[in-house]
Structure formats: structure tokens, C-alpha cells
């Protein structure tokens, strides 16, 4: 990070128009990104609140605070809110909306009105869910398994499934918009293999959003109709097949894991490059690996159903296919690591998140292989081992990447820096709190503690206490950025490109102008074309001293794009 002596542009997207109408009727992708950011932040803390209640109850083996029914509602709401209303939209709808047009040199996404519509549809879905929270909850688990959800549950299943249905359609529209934008809105000279890796990962994400989400949508409607009209599409008593529901649910919900993690993989590629001051090692492999993950994601859903009457041959096939996902994932991890080698590494807040991400994503991915193997899964299915595994991917992976990206692009979005010392502290707290929360869960899961119970055998208590303590620390780590980000909007030091990072988005003003660029940029070089940094001074202190205070290199050769 460097100290810059810059001032805010006179007119930018935040002050070009005022009043609530200028926000609620905006078609500016940057403002829509911020609308999404505010909405998902609310959902993030609501879902996190339910997580803390779960952990509080699990402090002791007995039922102390909540009975089984209440506890069931808490873990259901935790899952529904954080999966469908935070993780799925998180990076694409906020950072993606904000950055894609900037990164590809466009004025906006391809369909700005559709973009706004997708936020409204998300808002409708959120209102359904908040209504469910207000009137008494839902207790099916976030997976809505039949026939419990269709026949036996006495909670607000219909409203919950409709909420998921709506947010799903918002997700489809976002993905559709991004694919068209990336195809048709790139600046002249910006070929596919000059694109930032963040764009590649969002392109892969969008493919999954567009092709997988409709199946979830119609499945949610079928559940609502079955409950409402008492027909039996999934009810075995009427000839229906509950396992068909599982197939249809996981056909979306396994790819959905990659909707959550792929954008983070893209963010981390950007961070690793910017904070090693290097081109990402094996750029093309990292780019294509995102697409490979997207393709594989569609043919592995059966590994959620090894114990749901699946034939052993189908199980073997799904098992082998699931292993395949490890290949493109490992390509990314190895290439990031290789990028660090002989890089000019600096340890600013975003990089701390990125490094934490690499470690946790690796462990989360490798434990996924345990679960993809049929024999081990017999033992580990529905235990805390599964919980720990997917939280490493979805929280240690997706959320860490989101926070890293937020810190990295914060000066781009608002023209001001967050307090760096507090940022590093929060990254550290999140990392420590996260590990303390979830590593014990691997052990208690392996020892046989099942998920979704509010009571447990006394010998698991020590590890559960550790996990609960960790979740409290994690909560502090998440609240800190909320406070200092809001603080920085007014009091943060004015900044433009404190990382001296490459990329078209950094060529624009910070905050960007209403239509991003004064003139259409023309791109002449690939992404991450960093110049060789002089040996002294180094960035290891986190601050550059004199001699290299100019953000752009003086030769002009290393500039990735010339604004003409």
C-alpha cells in the first residue's frame, strides 16, 4: 500500500444524482451493486445471528435454551438465509456488478434495466424470507427434503420455498446479464485471454446460474404446490418419489456450491497478482480451470445421495466424477502458490484474506474428497465432518474471498481507504475464529456426532465449547469491518489506487464517473502486465517510500491499457 496524495473527482457516480429515487430507479451497475451490497449485508448478519444461537445451544450437551423445534428452525433459517440470500448473490451481485463493466472497459452491463429488475426480484424473495422469520420460521433444513417438507412439517414451508424461487430468478437474470456483457461489451483489443481472471471466474459462475437455477426454481414450486393442493408428486403414499426431489434439488444445489466459490477463486487470483506484483503463473490454465469446474459441477450431484438408495454403480460413477473436480481446483491452488515464488509480496489486508483463503480452500477441498469416496461417506454422512467441510469452502473460502475483495476494491468503490491496521486485525481475527470454530467439528464429526441435533453425548462437549468460542471470535471479526468500512466512508483517507494495481478498473477514477470512462478504452496488453519493480524500496513494510510514489510506472511500457 502506498500513501497517495490525491483528491476525489468532482463528479462521480455517488454524487451525480441525489435522492432516494436516484437509487431505487437507477440503472447504473455501480449503484445496483451497492443496493445489493446493503441488502446482502443485512441478510449476512441475520443469518450469522442464527448461527450464534445454534452455537450457544451447543455449548452444553443438554437442551438449555431452546427446544428441538426451535433449534430446527434456527439451523434452517441460518442455512436458507446464508446460502440463498447471501452466498449465492454475494460476490457476483456486488463486486461483479460493480467491476465487470469497469474491468472490460464498458459503460454498463448489457441490460441495465434487467439488472435493476434482478435486484427487485431479490428483494421480493428476501421479503418472503423475512416474513417467514417474523411469523414463526421454517424447520425443514435448507435442503427442504421431502416428504418431511411436503407432508409433515407444520411450519411456513410454502413462503420459504417461494422466497428461494424468487431469489433464484434474480440469480438467473444476473448470470444472463453477465454472460452477454462479457461477450459483447468488451473494449477494443480486450481479447478473451487478456481478460482479468475475475471475469473468467464470473463467466463460469454465470453459466451455472443460468443453467442450474431453473431446476431449483421449478422444484421449489412443486413443493409449494404439493403442500398447498395436497397432491403427491414427491409423496410416496401417493406413488411419488422423494428421491426424485433429492436429484432435482442437488442438480442445482451442488453446482450452487461452485456459484458460491468460483467468484472467490477469481477474486483471489486478482489479489495474488496485485500483491505479488506479478502476472498470475499459468494464466491460461487458471482461466480455463474455472470453466472446467463449471462443467464438472453439473455431473457430480449424486455424491450427496450415496445413502439415498442410489445404486452402487451410479455411486461409483459420481464418486469418480467428483474426484475430477479436484484437478482444476488444484490447478488454481498450485498456480497461486507458484505466483508467490519470487514475487514482490506485500501483506496488506486483502492479501491476508487471500492467503487465509488458499489454506482453508485447500483443506476444505481435500476433505471434500473424503466425502466423495463412497465408503468413507457411509461413516461421515450427516455428521459434523460434513458441516466442517462445507463451511471451509463456503465460509473459509467464499466469505474470505468476498471480504478480501471488499477491502481491495473499497478505495475503487468509494475513493477512500479503510484503516489498514484495523483491516489486518480483522483478517487475523477472522482466520483464528474460523479455525477454532470449524476444526473441532472435523473431529467431532469423525467421532460420530450427527448434524442437526440440539443435544449430544457429553464426551463431545470440550470440542463443542471450542467451536462455540471460535464462532464468537469469528463474529467479532465480521463486525469490525462493518464498523470501520462505514467509518471510512466519511473519515477514510482519500485514495485512488493505493495498491498500484494493474487493470482497467484502476484506470477509471475512484470513485468512477457515472459512465465509467471519459472515452472508450483501447486495450493493447494482457492483464497483469506488471513492470519489474526496482529492488529498493521493497513493499514489505506495507508502505512505499520515496522514489516510487507515482502509481503508474514512468516508462509507460507496463501500462496494460492506454486510454486514448
Amino acid at each position: 500500500m502506498i500513501e497517495e496524495n490525491v483528491s476525489l473527482p468532482r463528479i462521480h457516480y455517488l454524487n451525480s444524482h441525489y435522492g432516494w429515487k436516484s437509487w431505487l430507479f437507477t440503472t447504473d451497475h455501480k449503484r445496483i451493486g451497492l443496493l445489493y451490497m446493503i441488502s446482502i449485508t443485512l441478510m449476512f448478519f441475520l443469518g450469522g445471528f442464527f448461527a450464534l444461537l445454534i452455537r450457544l445451544e451447543l455449548l452444553t450437551p443438554q437442551a438449555d435454551m431452546f427446544n428441538a423445534d426451535t433449534y430446527n428452525k434456527f439451523f434452517t433459517l441460518h442455512g436458507v438465509i446464508l446460502v440463498f440470500f447471501f452466498l449465492v448473490p454475494s460476490i457476483p451481485a456486488t463486486l461483479g456488478n460493480f467491476l465487470i463493466p469497469l474491468m472490460i472497459g464498458a459503460k454498463d452491463v448489457a441490460f441495465p434495466k434487467l439488472n435493476l429488475l434482478s435486484w427487485y426480484i431479490y428483494a421480493i424473495g428476501s421479503l418472503f424470507t423475512l416474513w417467514v422469520v417474523a411469523v414463526g420460521g421454517v424447520d425443514t433444513g435448507w435442503t427442504f427434503y421431502t416428504p418431511y417438507s411436503t407432508t409433515f412439517a407444520n411450519t411456513h414451508v410454502i413462503a420459504a420455498t417461494l422466497g428461494v424461487f424468487f431469489t433464484g430468478f434474480s440469480s438467473i437474470l444476473t448470470g444472463l446479464n453477465f454472460i452477454v456483457t462479457i461477450h459483447k461489451m468488451r473494449a477494443p483489443g480486450l481479447t478473451w485471454f487478456r481478460l482479468p481472471l475475475f471475469i473468467w471466474s464470473l463467466y463460469a459462475t454465470s453459466i451455472i446460474q443460468v443453467l442450474a437455477t431453473p431446476v431449483l426454481g421449478i422444484t421449489m414450486v412443486l413443493i409449494a404446490v404439493e403442500r398447498f393442493a395436497r397432491v403427491g408428486i414427491f409423496d410416496p403414499a401417493l406413488g411419488g418419489d422423494p428421491v426424485l426431489f433429492q436429484h432435482m434439488f442437488w442438480f442445482y444445489s451442488h453446482p450452487a456450491v461452485y456459484i458460491m466459490i468460483l467468484p472467490s477463486l477469481g477474486v483471489v487470483s486478482e489479489l495474488i497478482s496485485a500483491f505479488t506484483w506479478k502476472r498470475v503463473f499459468g494464466y491460461k490454465f487458471v482461466a480455463v480451470s474455472s470453466l472446467m469446474i463449471a462443467i464438472f459441477s453439473f455431473i457430480v450431484w449424486g455424491h450427496h445421495m450415496y445413502v439415498s438408495s442410489m445404486s452402487i454403480y451410479a455411486g461409483m460413477l459420481f464418486s469418480i466424477l467428483s474426484y475430477l473436480v479436484a484437478v482444476p481446483s488444484a490447478v488454481k491452488v498450485f498456480n497461486w502458490t507458484a505466483t508467490l515464488y519470487k514475487g514482490s509480496v506485500s501483506y496488506d489486508t486483502p492479501m491476508l484474506y487471500a492467503l487465509g483463503f488458499i489454506g482453508l480452500f485447500t483443506i476444505g477441498g481435500l476433505t471434500g474428497l473424503f466425502l466423495a469416496s463412497m465408503g468413507l461417506d457411509r461413516h461421515l454422512h450427516d455428521t459434523y465432518f460434513v458441516i466442517a467441510h462445507f463451511h471451509l469452502i463456503m465460509v473459509g473460502g467464499a466469505v474470505m474471498g468476498y471480504f478480501g475483495g471488499l477491502h481491495y476494491w473499497w478505495p475503487k468503490m468509494f475513493g477512500r481507504m479503510y484503516p489498514e491496521w484495523w483491516g489486518r486485525l480483522s483478517a487475523l481475527i477472522v482466520f483464528v475464529g474460523f479455525n477454532l470454530s470449524f476444526f473441532p467439528q472435523f473431529i467431532i464429526g469423525y467421532l460420530g456426532m450427527p448434524r442437526r441435533y440440539h443435544v449430544y453425548a457429553p464426551e463431545f462437549q470440550v470440542l463443542n465449547v471450542m467451536s462455540t468460542a471460535g464462532s464468537s471470535i469469528l463474529g467479532v471479526g465480521y463486525l469490525l469491518p462493518l464498523v470501520y468500512f462505514i467509518w471510512s466512508l466519511r473519515y477514510g483517507k482519500v485514495a485512488s489506487n493505493p495498491w498500484m494495481a494493474k487493470g482497467l478498473e484502476w484506470e477509471a477514477a475512484s470513485p468512477p464517473l457515472p459512465e465509467n470512462f471519459l472515452e472508450q478504452p483501447v486495450v493493447t496488453e494482457e492483464a497483469y502486465n506488471y513492470p519489474i519493480r526496482p529492488a529498493q524500496p521493497t513493499r514489505h513494510t506495507g508502505r512505499l517510500t520515496s522514489g516510487l510514489a507515482q502509481p503508474a510506472d514512468t516508462t509507460g511500457k507496463g501500462r496494460e491499457a492506454e486510454v486514448v
Binding site: 452477454v180 459483447k184 431453473p214 397432491v231 403427491g232 426424485l244
Partner: protein
């Protein structure tokens, strides 16, 4: 995406860019529609395999003549839609309006026939969740109910798409009447055409799967009532 002053929206640079964006967007949307209906066709395949005889018997309660008539209406409306797009491309406003009207006419006829079919099924107590009553062989009861659930759900979703399509058609008609389209800019007409053909195509699959499966049996086979 057009505004009153120029057919190019502010964030595009050329007409071609705008047109290609709309085309890719529409095809992607149709891909999501395929997946939406695809889940239901999958469910149909699963349950037909589970209840092969019951599906056949239940299907014999469908009036394949009505379904065939509707198939004919939709195919005609697709043809007139092709002519409408062609007229727009050549800048013939009168032809565009006429063929749009014809498309709307046959689309409406389809829904009218559908209404009478639904009414007939309601009268015959074929509607699961509302009044389903199976008087035929008891071993077919579950399968027949599943068949009729899928029938109402799939054709209902299809009819919903028809209603949305007719709403869009009215909007296209009005804007065409106002002279918004020219040989340089007729994106909305062409995109709507893609949607309309897609909805027809769904019906082309629904018709044999639902109506013809039991057409060789005597009507109402299985001894309903």
C-alpha cells in the same frame, strides 16, 4: 432497450453490438426455459417408467382431437410470426401489424380451446388437489393421479407462457403501430419471435407425451365412472 430519440441505448456503441447482445441474451433465456421445463419432462419420464400402464389408461381420457387442433393453431401462429419478423425486416409496417394480429388470434384460439379442455376435465373429476376421483381400476389410481398432476402442471406452465406471450405481443403490436421499428431496428420483434417459437416447441413435445400415449385405447379406457 430503445428510447424515443435513438434506437441505440446509451451504453452501446453500435446497432450491431446491441442486436447481438439482445440475441445472445434471448437464447440464454430460452436455455433457462429448457431447464425449467426439462425438470418436469424428467419427472414425467421417471413416473411414466414407474406407472407405464396407468399413464396409458389415464392418457386415453384426453381428447386428442382438441389437442391436435391446438397443435395446428400453434403451428399456424408460428408461421405467421415468421412472416411478421420478415415484414419487420423489410420495413413493411402493414404486413407486420397484420401478421402480428394473426399470431395473436391463433394464440388466443389455443387458450380458448385449452379453457374448454380444462373445464371438461374439471367436470370429469380429473383435477388432482381439487376433485380428483378415479373410478377405474384401483391399481392405476396413483399413476393416473400422477399423470393428471403432470398434465395440469406442465400444460398450465405452458399456458402461462402463452398468456405472457400474448401480453408481449400486444406491446409489440402497439409499438409497431407507433412506427418504432425499421429495417435497421426491429430487435424486439425478432426476440419476441424466438420466444413465441420456443413456447410452440414446448407444446410440440407436450402433445404426444400427454395426448397420444393412450389414443389407441377407447376413450376413457379403464372404465372411468
Amino acid at each position: 432497450m430503445s428510447n424515443a430519440h435513438s434506437p441505440i441505448a446509451h451504453h452501446f456503441y453500435t446497432v450491431e453490438q446491441q442486436k447481438e447482445a439482445a440475441t445472445i441474451g434471448m437464447w440464454l433465456f430460452l436455455a433457462t426455459e429448457i431447464l425449467l421445463f426439462g425438470a418436469l419432462f424428467t419427472a414425467y419420464a421417471v413416473y411414466r417408467q414407474k406407472f407405464p400402464d396407468a399413464f396409458m389408461v389415464a392418457s386415453s381420457r384426453m381428447d386428442w382431437k382438441m389437442g391436435g387442433l391446438n397443435t395446428l393453431f400453434l403451428i399456424i401462429s408460428s408461421v405467421t410470426m415468421v412472416f411478421a419478423v420478415s415484414a419487420a425486416e423489410k420495413g413493411r409496417r402493414g404486413g407486420l401489424l397484420g401478421f402480428l394480429a394473426a399470431t395473436g388470434f391463433f394464440g388466443t384460439l389455443f387458450l380458448v380451446v385449452k379453457y374448454f379442455e380444462y373445464k371438461h376435465h374439471y367436470h370429469d373429476q380429473d383435477v388432482p388437489g381439487l376433485n380428483f376421483h378415479w373410478a377405474g381400476a384401483p391399481e392405476f389410481a396413483n399413476g393416473a393421479q400422477m399423470f393428471f398432476f403432470l398434465y395440469f402442471f406442465m400444460t398450465g406452465l405452458h399456458a402461462l407462457h402463452m398468456v405472457v406471450g400474448l401480453g408481449l405481443l400486444i406491446w409489440i403490436f402497439i409499438t409497431a403501430y407507433q412506427g418504432k421499428y425499421s429495417p435497421e431496428y426491429y430487435n424486439p420483434v425478432e426476440m419476441f419471435g424466438l420466444y413465441w417459437h420456443f413456447v410452440d416447441l414446448v407444446w410440440i413435445f407436450l402433445f404426444p407425451l400427454l395426448y397420444l400415449l393412450g389414443a389407441h385405447l377407447p376413450p376413457g379406457g379403464g372404465g372411468h365412472h
